[in-house]
Symmetry: C2
Subunit: 80 residues, 2 copies
């Protein structure tokens, strides 16, 4: 079973990495870019086939390791 996890900064938290990309895109001549926010994307391959258990387990992974929940939010999606 595969879990897809997005870890992104909460709204309002300054994103220097996104700002750097924004600046670089402008320097390369890309017009019309209003904002860029950068986050992490993880694909986790899990044993077993209990989707609910997998979702709970991955949420716990996010709480304990993958996300800094003070400034980041996470979104878990369980696929096949």
């Amino acid at each position: 079973m595969k879990a897809k996890v997005h870890v992104t900064l909460k709204p309002g938290v300054l994103d220097p990495q996104g700002k750097a990309v924004e600046g670089a895109l402008a320097a390369l001549g890309f017009a019309g870019v209003e904002s860029v926010r950068q986050g992490k994307f993880l694909e986790i391959e899990l044993a077993g086939d209990d989707r609910d258990a997998a979702e709970r387990q991955v949420a716990e992974m996010c709480e304990k390791l993958l996300a800094n929940t003070v400034i980041e939010k996470y979104d878990v999606e369980i696929g096949d």
Copy 2:
């Protein structure tokens, strides 16, 4: 208009960051994790409302800046 971009390592390319997460999850006692791959996730806010033009522009951003196409692939999704 918002573009969501996933930049991930191509299959077969070694992912030390993913391996580190995998090791850390095992050390924290999470069982059943078979593999972890880590990528980047970008949300780009664009002016205008031509979806096709936006998709072409973001693909060009990926080719020129956001992805290293020797080892990474990208996926662009245009939302509202």
